[in-house]
């Protein structure tokens, strides 16, 4: 049920591959030329950044041309012998039934270290003698190790697709998953991935799976994701360190926003400090950290920040006394931050109405939202006549009226 979307929605034919039209054409022409005679270059060397569709192209081409694909990757190149084994198997002969065969050597970058000595040399020999098309795939074809090999290969460069092209693919995936997705949300993912289709599709799955509608607010928090590893390390130290100094130090290393880190700690504490007494102590430490945050706000004295940090790091770490160690517990993304980004549009609407109320009722817009809005909503849901009068009086526009009456759009 939860197959990886990157596999489930993999392009089945070359026409479905996003971007790189030129490269694909060059590659196809070369592959077709084998029908007439063995071309001068017996291998095509597909190179370019990760996640741009190199391997996918080879697979789709094999399908389009009805060739048998023999695939090898990094682990098969370890030694010269290993390479020889499949070389003999794959590149010397045609298939038993007269069809044609395509040999794919993927992840050539993976050949490293002494264990692979001779690996590249052996591949060069295979290419020189190949009786069927051989395709090499690597991120960087200009690595000095490949200098000899390169001479025998048709170099085909794959470039990053455009944001539009990545979006097009994401949209196709969404259609397949019956998700109604906003352009803006897809654009954000496409950009965020650095135009890496694989990572974009993985992000899409993580964020949109199980949803009917997928909007910008669902992805806005992704902006933080780059920092995920950093955050996880800090969290691990805070929640599991036995040393108060070490817990405090973790934050220096992270160089991250205190409020953001606070949300992460606050979210995760109850999952990791399960003993009720430890939990109460840790939550009290967070409560004190929060008090100092408030004091900083009102005094603007940022030297108090050290106490915020003390409580949210060492304070939480030292709360662990009785909780028994358990297996691996995943860290959770702060729900409040997700909630804030999900409800951004709604809160903006409320605050716009708050501004209208403020003009008439001598309260701040913040307080208007809290103290008037819930009652106004009841009026709008139940009494159109009274609602119309209030709408006129407050000078509300149509979208505001619809919002208050609980109507969409």
């Amino acid at each position: 049920m939860h197959a990886a979307w990157i596999v489930k929605h993999k392009p089945q034919t070359l026409s479905e591959v996003v971007g790189n039209a030129e490269a694909i054409q060059k590659f196809t022409e070369w592959a077709r030329s084998w029908d007439k005679r063995i071309p001068k270059k017996r291998a095509a060397f597909l190179h370019g950044p990760p996640g741009v569709g190199k391997t996918v192209c080879v697979e789709a081409l094999a399908k389009d041309l009805q060739m048998e694909l023999v695939e090898k990757n990094a682990s098969d190149y370890r030694t010269a012998e290993a390479v020889q084994r499949f070389a003999g198997l794959a590149s010397q002969y045609g298939t038993l039934f007269g069809g044609s065969r395509l040999v794919l050597l993927d992840e050539l970058d993976g050949i490293t270290g002494t264990a692979d000595k001779g690996g590249v040399g052996a591949i060069t020999e295979i290419v020189k003698a190949a009786q069927c098309p051989v395709v090499l795939v690597a991120n960087n074809a200009y690595d000095p190790r490949f200098s000899t090999l390169r001479k025998y290969c048709l170099l085909v460069e794959f470039k990053k697709p455009t944001v539009r092209e990545v979006m097009k693919h994401l949209k196709k995936v969404c259609v397949g998953e019956e998700i109604n997705a906003d352009e803006e949300a897809l654009k954000f993912i496409a950009e965020k991935s650095g135009r890496d289709v694989r990572s974009a599709v993985n992000d899409l799955q993580a964020l949109a799976q199980g949803k009917k509608r997928f909007v910008y607010e669902d992805v806005a928090w992704l902006a933080e994701r780059d920092r995920k590893d950093v955050i996880f390390n800090v969290l691990r130290t805070i929640l599991y360190s036995k040393d108060s100094w070490e817990a405090k130090k973790a934050v220096d290393a992270a160089d991250m926003d205190t409020d953001m880190l606070f949300q992460w700690v606050y979210e995760n504490v109850p999952y990791h400090l399960t003993d009720p007494q430890d939990l109460a102590k840790a939550m009290d430490a967070l409560s004190l950290a929060d008090i100092y945050r408030r004091r900083i706000r009102s005094t603007q004295d940022w030297s108090l920040l050290r106490y915020v940090l003390d409580f949210m790091t060492a304070g939480v770490a030292m709360a662990r006394e009785r909780t028994k160690p358990s297996g691996w517990i995943p860290f959770r993304f702060p729900e409040k931050i997700q909630w804030m980004s999900r409800t951004k549009a709604e809160r903006e609407m409320q605050s716009a109405i708050g501004m209208k109320i403020r003009r008439k009722c001598h309260v701040s817009s913040v307080r208007a939202v809290k103290e008037f809005l819930p009652y106004i909503r009841i009026i709008f849901e139940n009494n159109p006549e009274m609602a119309a009068g209030i709408a006129r009086w407050l000078d509300l526009d149509e979208t505001m009226v619809n919002y208050l009456a609980g109507r969409k759009g």
Binding site: P270, D290, K360, S364, I378, M386
Partner: protein, 323 residues
């Protein structure tokens, strides 16, 4: 037909119309007679007439064109230090034309100003005393810095008595020809606790349902406007399911915008209504009071209340062990 929000429509225009805070009103009236006012702090809970008193004072002092002579700033919306510097200065420095030589600056929700902004305000207040008098409105005067407090005449507003509360509502009911049962007044007072803004909003929302207002109507309005269900949340916490309890709390605060102060009030009531041993009630009252105090200081509602929930989880655990 003209419909407005009743909380505004029935706001008293002149000190004579104010039904509560009689001592304060008397003193303010004496200012009007003397045609002079000091800087003032109006402190007290929401919905007790602080802003109204300031507006009425300005109205009675200047008469018809009173809007020319005062300015209202809300510190929650524009609390920056620059606003105080610029807006307040520009307004305060020019002399008022007319019989009364000063203007009035009403700074609402001024306990939300940073202390830097308050310091700047203090200097402005001193420099322009001749041309401008300040009325600072706050829920907690304690959050206003000492040097400002010492320059202001303090006025302490308190919740309305049941009698005043009902009198005010009855006036509205008469004007709007609302049909209501007496039991509804009990219900409204129970939830408003003498906060007239909340009482009036509740009344109007109940009236919008278009039927005779009884206690049940009031409760259903409250339930929808501010759905506080602490009983189950407390039970979850005490059973050891802190995570689920926190989830309930979040829903109340984030989704429904229920005020933290209302939630803690309800928790306090529930703990004493519960079947817990009496020593525990007292012990927990201490914990609740401490968290309430932290809330008053302006700390984050969700963080503070979930710290309280964690204490309840701990209490539940110790009780089970027979502690």
């Amino acid at each position: 037909m003209s419909w407005e929000l009743w909380a505004e429509k029935y706001r008293p225009q002149s000190l004579d119309q104010m039904i509560n805070q009689t001592e304060i009103v008397e003193r303010l009236k004496s200012f009007v007679e003397a045609k002079n006012i000091p800087h003032c702090i109006f402190a007290g809970p929401p919905g007790t007439g602080k802003t109204t008193a300031a507006l009425c004072l300005a109205h009675d002092l200047y008469g018809k064109g009173y809007r020319e002579h005062f300015m209202e700033l809300n510190a929650s919306d524009e609390r920056g230090i620059n606003v105080v510097r610029e807006t307040v200065k520009t307004f305060a420095r020019t002399r008022s034309i007319g019989e009364i030589p000063f203007k009035i600056m009403i700074l609402d929700e001024s306990d939300n100003m940073t202390s830097d902004a308050q310091q700047a305000l203090r200097r402005t207040m001193e420099r322009f005393t001749e041309t401008c008098r300040f009325i600072l409105i706050a829920n907690y005067s304690g959050k206003i810095i000492e040097p400002i407090q010492s320059r202001c005449a303090p006025f302490r507003f308190s919740y309305l008595s049941r009698e005043d509360h009902d009198r005010y509502l009855r006036h509205i009911i008469q004007q709007e020809s609302v049909k209501i049962l007496d039991e509804a007044f009990d219900a409204i007072f129970e939830v408003s606790g003498g906060d007239l803004r909340r009482a009036t909003n509740t009344l109007q929302a109940a009236a919008s349902l278009g039927r005779v207002i009884d206690a049940e109507t009031v409760y259903s309005v409250i339930g929808r406007a501010s759905p506080i269900d602490v009983r189950e949340m407390i039970a979850l916490a005490m059973k050891g399911n802190f995570i689920e309890a926190r989830q309930r709390l979040r829903e109340m605060i984030l989704k429904y915008g229920v005020a933290g102060s209302d939630i803690i009030k309800q928790i306090h009531i529930e703990i004493f209504r519960s079947a817990l041993p009496d020593q525990w009630k007292v012990k927990l009252a201490g914990a609740i009071g401490e968290i309430d105090f932290r809330l008053v200081q302006g700390a984050d509602e969700e963080v503070q209340l979930s710290a309280l929930l964690a204490r309840l989880t701990e209490a539940g655990y110790e009780l089970k062990r027979g502690g």
